[in-house]
């Protein structure tokens, strides 16, 4: 008997708007103008937040910060596909996702200034604290989706992580579990081509991260992560499938980290300038601007207005953050357990932190 082929696979890649701002009509979804403008405005807002965070860090007004510059389309495009009630499990890179979801920027600044209260999501916003350990949040997204399935809710979870995170066993086990139990979970990988100093090809010998879904029997697809519309479409489709009970999806967004890994890194030590410059011209706002201009949705005045409003909003939030009262040191005792232990009560007294 000749060798049989038991199965065949392909890895799909979605790009809708190219670098010149031209949309492919065969895949372009019918998006309302208001949504396109919202994407644009949220990208500008997120970028403004990011720029200010970088300068606040230099001035010593916040601590070490992880910039998402260059990844705004992946972050905002996916975030705007998330519906009320869905659960979000971000990594430390995802400030932009949170901003697009309406997370108060003052809290993000306070988080990056070392105040854990900054990760207390306001009521109604189902956002988990950013995972600082790399990739180990993937099983949480699986578990939260499992809870939705138990409760028969039409909801889904979305877990964000990086290309480096895909090397962690937790990521693989989460995908496997999600497939076995067919839960409504989206695993969203921002492949920004680098994990600190390690380029993507040194994380995995596979051509794509998207294809890892195949081994776990779940949907997987790649998308141009600098094309906000493609990201929005891929995420919306995946969430819809999940909510219809058709199981999990892994999405890999090809994007690029234009800044250093964090403010304590210096990427010029390990990556070529030419590579960065080649990606700089592919950054997400350029093509969105051109596309919207063709549709009559963009003018210079429009962008100026959006930029001004973003700056004002960010300034207001910085002011609010800097006006926040310092955290109570006793909080760390208070929140370690659900209740204070006898020993902690004594320790609180010894520290003089009783309230």
């Amino acid at each position: 008997m000749p060798i049989d082929t038991l199965d065949r696979f392909e890895v799909k890649y979605l790009r809708i708007i190219d670098e010149n701002g031209t949309a492919d009509p065969s895949v372009m979804p019918p998006l309302p103008d208001a949504l396109l403008k919202n994407i644009f405005e949220k990208i500008v807002l997120a970028r403004t937040f990011n720029q200010r965070a970088m300068s606040l860090q230099r001035e010593g007004r916040i601590g070490t910060y992880a910039s998402f510059y260059g990844q705004e389309a992946a972050q905002v495009g996916s975030a705007l596909a998330i519906a009320e009630g869905d659960w979000v499990f971000p990594s430390f890179r995802e400030s932009g996702v949170l901003i697009a979801l309406g997370y108060p920027m003052r809290r993000l600044y306070s988080y990056w200034a070392g105040d854990e209260r900054g990760m207390q999501a306001p009521p109604g916003l189902n956002v988990f604290p950013m995972s600082v350990p790399v990739g180990t949040q993937a099983p949480h997204g699986m578990g939260a989706a499992w809870a939705m399935k138990y409760r028969k809710e039409k909801k889904a979870s979305i877990t964000y992580f990086g290309d480096g995170g895909s090397s962690r066993g937790d990521f693989h086990e989460a995908l496997n579990l999600a497939g076995v139990f067919k839960v409504p979970a989206i695993f969203f990988c921002q492949n920004n081509q680098w994990a600190i100093s390690m380029p993507r090809q040194r994380q995995t010998a596979a051509k794509t991260i998207a294809q890892k879904a195949i081994g776990y029997g779940i949907e997987g697809m790649a998308v141009d992560g600098n094309d906000a519309v493609a990201v929005y479409k891929a995420t919306t489709d995946a969430l819809d499938r999940a909510k219809r009970g058709e199981g999990p999806t892994l999405i890999e967004a090809f994007t690029y980290r234009l800044d250093d890994h964090t403010t304590s890194d210096e990427a010029s030590r390990y990556r070529p300038k030419e590579e960065v410059e080649a990606w700089r011209v592919k950054e997400p706002l350029i093509r969105l601007r051109l596309f919207m201009e063709k549709k009559g949705l963009w003018t210079r005045e429009y962008e100026e207005g959006v930029g001004k409003a973003a700056l004002d909003a960010v300034d207001r939030e910085i002011e609010a953050y800097e006006g926040m009262a310092a955290p109570e040191p006793s909080d760390m005792f208070r929140y370690t357990y659900d209740e204070l232990t006898a020993r902690q009560k004594r320790e609180l007294k010894e520290f003089g932190w009783e309230r």
Binding site: G63, G114, D115, E116, V132, P133, V134, G135, T136, G164, G165, S167, R168, G169, A195, I196, S197, M198, R202, Q203, T204, R269, Y270, A326, P327, P329, M332, F333, T336, T341, R343, Q344, E347, F351
Partner: protein, 330 residues
């Protein structure tokens, strides 16, 4: 590379040189970790080693558990492996490989195979890195038979203990403290620490024994100076090795001073101090002449706020106070 016989260098450099010496003299030594090649390691320890030993200094994917497991496989079949965990906090991801495999294998195979692995882990806080980049986790490993633990505090011991750890036929957890890397000290290349397991008397004194390790030793020495100015002479013992624990050195000192303070950065619950105190009480209760005090971290996660962090991690003042409290039973 040729180094000067005696020289003043940093703790970071001492570790680099120990790695260089071993990699340079033994083809069967492999060094792996995240971002340890071009990047030079998160704390700059590995620097240019990858250029000198390109096939044996290897940046791995972010897979702590599998890298530790691969180290087990490599070491069982003839290699000596050094694994750098970027921050000690992430050693948790390699726990199964360290505890259920590396530490058990010599026993399970009836002594036929061993796992000469060194897991290097930068620990410690005081830098505002928050709850998942600041931990000191040696307490978790004290109850793991088959595993050794060292946490040197001086440049000389960092050099000596690392070479000893690499040539030890058991898995060794090698704890470095982030605040020690820039500290300078004298190094003598001929210095040999010998087998792991001996403490060092860092300062002699007759009034109170202060036992610590790693960065805590430096805090204890500063406290000893302040105490001395107040007429109290502390004997500071630097454990260097936490497992095996040189309880003989501690007991001999307590028999002399009658008083004991332990200092550590990790949690008081189930920590090094808990172990030292119980053994001292077992061995030399009749000599104890005042209350015993442990200095360490209370039962809370490490906050990112530097102000709050500096309060919950031990400081010089805490050690001075503790030493004074041992002088009586009140």
């Amino acid at each position: 590379m040729e180094y000067m016989q005696r020289e003043k260098i940093s703790y970071r450099k001492a570790i680099y040189r120990a790695l260089d010496r071993v990699l340079g003299s033994d083809e069967k030594v492999v060094f792996m970790g995240e971002d340890i090649s071009e990047y030079g390691g998160a704390f700059g320890v590995s620097a240019d080693l990858y250029r000198r030993y390109p096939s044996r200094v290897i940046s791995t994917p972010i897979s702590e558990g599998s890298v530790a497991g691969a180290a087990v496989g490599l070491s069982m079949t003839g290699y000596r492996v050094i694994v750098e965990i970027m921050f000690m906090d992430f050693i948790t991801l390699a726990m199964d490989q360290i505890i259920n495999h590396a530490a058990n294998i010599h026993y399970m195979y009836g002594g036929q195979v061993s796992c000469p692995i060194v897991i290097r882990a930068p620990a410690g806080g005081y830098r505002g890195y928050g709850p998942s980049h600041s931990k000191t986790l040696e307490g978790l490993f004290l109850g793991i038979p088959g595993l050794k633990i060292v946490a040197p505090s001086t440049v000389q011991d960092a050099w000596g203990a690392l070479i000893s750890a690499i040539y030890d036929n058991n898995p060794v957890l090698f704890i470095e403290h982030k605040l020690l890397y820039n500290m300078e000290g004298e190094i003598d290349l001929d210095y040999k620490i010998g087998p792991i397991g001996r403490a060092r008397i860092a300062r002699e004194g007759a009034d109170v024994t202060v036992v610590s390790h790693s960065y805590g030793t430096h805090l204890s020495m500063r406290a000893a100076q302040e105490l001395s100015a107040q007429g109290i002479e502390a004997e500071v013992i630097d454990l260097v090795s936490l497992k095996p624990l040189d309880i003989g050195a501690v007991a001999a000192s307590v028999e002399k001073t009658g008083r004991l303070v332990t200092v550590e950065e990790g949690d008081l619950s189930g920590g090094v101090g808990a172990e030292v105190v119980s053994r001292v009480v077992e061995d030399c209760l009749p000599y104890i002449d005042g209350r015993i005090v442990r200095v360490g971290k209370p039962d809370v996660p490490i906050p990112a706020s530097i102000m709050a962090e500096s309060r919950v991690l031990p400081g010089v003042d805490d050690i001075v106070d503790a030493a004074k409290r041992t002088l009586s039973w009140e």
